[in-house]
């Protein structure tokens, strides 16, 4: 059980580090991740 605990714990730690690096959060509101090329690139109007 201890070995499995070690393995799972290290995996969880790696996942945590990766999530922190990516800025991912389970409770965070991530944008729609859409990107678009804006015309003119000088201003934005509805």
């Amino acid at each position: 059980m201890i070995k499995a605990n070690w393995l799972v714990g290290l995996l969880a730690l790696a996942l945590f580090s990766s999530a922190q690096y990516q800025g991912w959060s389970l409770f965070g509101h991530e944008n729609t991740a859409q990107s678009a090329r804006m015309s003119g690139a000088r201003g934005y109007h509805k």
Partner: protein, 641 residues
């Protein structure tokens, strides 16, 4: 040292101890009284009984680093057998007594006691007695008869006189009250292991003590009932159960007495055959006796278990106790705890022992040698206190109270120790003092948990301080109340390098209204845009005197993998019509934010493992205490994390 000649036979006699008033002539057994320079013959001493003790007059040993020599002996007999009181003389001229009974050795000396001594008739086993500020409990009451004496003695010994004695124990002290005189004599001493006495010049000086004792110990005879051959291995043996016919034979000197004729109808075969030899816990043991006992506890369950009596010349006696395939190696406890009967828990030798079972034990079957006059049907009160892997057991009858300490033994260790090929009885259930293997697992799991928590904390702090988050924009926008839709652009901000994450946080003043926020992150030069939609609603009020709140005026979102560049935000607001108040939105843009929610989530996940191992450990303990008739009210669950 005074040398003289026996006035009866002329043989040389020696007084080595100044305190010796009497000496028994080795040759004619005349009892000689020292009176100045003269010796007076006051009569012939009776013969000693042959008891095969390895000690003799002239043996030498050490006690507390002090050398002594054995100069005399008194042999006494009581209902459970014979014991010897060896008169020993230290090099500084002081004398003491070395008691040898039931395989136990006690060195004691007479002391003066200022407190009044209790009358013998008022004493009972386990009765507390305080003498000169020290607390003792009565452990043994006996009426002994003097058989004979030999060598130098400090007082006159007459065969046949009876003496009441009370043995008391307290902490590491042993106390004997001898009621043969008025006022009674008090001796205080200490139990000591045979090996620690470093005895020399034992019975056969040509051979090592163990071999000498073994040689004198083995005696063969025939059962007086069925004539089956029987062998005695221990000099302290007082009774033998015949394997062939079940009779119990009393041993006294060279004489045999049939204590119980073929009383045992049912014949039981011990798993460890009598006579089996093995090395256990560093000593060589021989199985010399086997008995079955049973008890009816308060939980009305009927327990039956087996006890094997082991013998070693140096170590004395020990027990192997088997119940449902669980084994214990038990020794008598020379320094028993001072605990009143039925006490829930107590500390002994640094460990806490908890009451597990109590009941009345009865001997149901006997075979082989025993150091007391054992009988089928013999009963005593038993209490077991546990501190796995140890168990302290108290046995009390009308005349004595004894303690033993048992340690749980793995069956595999037993098989190796005695070279037994047959499989041991199958283990069932959890035994009282069986070590909980999940305690160590739980401890390791907790240790691992804290290591992982430490690592996670280091990672979190590294992200917080080393890969620091950076506030790249903070701007306050005001939305007029009369416009339900409005678009605003923020100031520009620069990302000098790629941002892993870019957090946009809206902290609004919206109350009792809703706000739709459509945020677009626009790169100034390339026109690359990132879209995000948020709904912010915040309502609050008071109903029936109680305040309530719903939603939040603050919301945030994250853009991922945003390249370097110059950006600004274009925000479309749509304000609800539930309120006519203007709304202020404070926008914050944070580059590479470090959230704590992942950290908390990780800790919660990691905590699953110690919680699981703790549950498993406690389940094992619950199975253990299920067999107890007193429950586990005495203490906690042994949590150490």
């Amino acid at each position: 040292m005074k040398r003289a000649s026996c006035p009866s036979c002329g043989a040389p006699v020696v007084f080595r101890a100044a305190t010796s008033l009497y000496v028994v002539c080795d040759f004619c057994r005349s009892t000689l009284l020292r009176s100045g320079e003269d010796l007076q013959n006051i009569g012939r001493m009776a013969e000693l009984l042959e008891d095969s003790s390895p000690i003799r007059i002239g043996s030498e040993g050490r006690f507390r680093q002090r050398h002594f020599a054995v100069v005399g002996r008194i042999q006494l007999q009581y209902e459970s057998g014979i014991w010897n009181e060896w008169h020993i003389l230290f090099d500084d001229g002081r004398s003491a007594w070395l008691a040898e009974a039931s395989g136990e050795f006690i060195v004691s000396a007479q002391v003066a006691v200022s407190d009044p001594l209790p009358a013998f008739a008022t004493l009972a086993p386990e009765m507390p007695v305080t003498l000169d500020g020290r607390r003792f409990v009565v452990t043994d009451l006996a009426t002994a008869r003097c058989i004979a004496g030999e060598g130098e003695l400090p007082f006159r010994v007459a065969a046949g006189y009876e003496v009441n004695t009370a043995d008391l124990r307290g902490n590491d002290r042993f106390l004997t009250i001898d009621y043969s005189e008025t006022p009674p004599l008090v001796f205080v001493g200490q139990s000591v292991a045979f090996a620690d006495l470093q005895l020399d010049k034992l019975r056969d000086v040509q051979e090592p003590p163990a071999a000498a004792a073994r040689q004198v110990a083995a005696r063969a005879f025939s059962c007086p009932h069925c004539a089956a051959p029987l062998t005695l291995h221990s000099p302290a043996t007082e009774s033998v159960g015949c394997e062939s016919c079940g009779s119990i034979i009393g041993i006294e000197n060279e004489n045999l007495s049939l204590l119980s004729r073929a009383a045992q109808v049912l014949r039981e075969v011990p798993w460890l055959p009598l006579g089996t030899e093995g090395t256990l816990r560093g000593s060589e043991w021989r199985v010399i006796g086997f008995m079955r006992r049973s008890t009816s506890s308060a939980a009305d369950a009927d327990y039956r278990w087996s006890e094997y009596l082991l013998y070693n010349v140096q170590q004395g006696f020990a027990w192997l106790v088997e119940y449902q395939g669980h084994w214990n190696f038990a020794r008598g406890l020379p320094n028993p705890p001072l605990v009143s009967r039925g006490e829930a828990k107590f500390r002994h030798a640094g460990s806490e022992f908890r009451l597990f079972n109590r009941g009345e034990a009865e001997v149901t079957y006997v075979v082989g040698e025993f150091y007391w006059r054992v009988t089928v049907g013999e009963r005593c009160l038993v209490e077991d206190y546990i501190c796995p892997p140890l168990m302290l057991s108290r046995e009390v009858n009308a005349r004595e109270s004894t303690w033993s300490q048992a340690e749980y033994l793995e069956p595999a260790e037993l098989c190796v120790a005695f070279g037994i090929k047959a499989p041991p009885p199958a283990r069932t259930e959890v035994y009282a003092n069986q070590p909980n293997p999940l305690v160590e697992t739980h401890r390791q799991t907790c240790r691992l948990f804290w290591k992982l928590v430490l690592a996670a904390t280091v990672v979190q702090l590294a992200f917080t301080f080393l890969f620091a988050s950076e506030l790249v924009l903070r701007q306050r926008l005001v939305l007029p109340a009369q416009n339900d839709e409005v678009t605003r652009s923020s100031q520009e901000f620069v990302l000098r390098s790629r941002a892993r994450a870019l957090l946009v946080r809206h902290q609004t003043s919206v109350v009792n209204n809703w706000l739709s926020v459509n945020t677009t992150l626009v790169e100034k030069n390339t026109g690359e845009a990132y879209l995000g939609l948020q709904e912010i609603s915040h309502y609050r009020g008071v109903d029936d005197g109680e305040g309530w709140s719903e939603g939040s005026p603050t919301d945030e979102m994250v853009f991922k993998a945003v390249p370097a560049g110059t950006y600004h935000l274009v925000i479309e607001y749509e304000l609800g019509s539930d309120s006519s108040e203007a709304v202020v939105d404070t926008i914050e843009v944070v580059r590479n934010p470090t959230g704590w929610s992942n950290y908390v989530l990780l800790l919660l996940f990691l905590a699953i493992f110690p919680l699981l191992s703790r549950w498993r450990r406690n389940a094992f303990e619950a199975r253990r205490w299920h067999a107890s008739d007193v429950g586990n009210d005495a203490g906690g669950d042994g949590d150490e994390d």
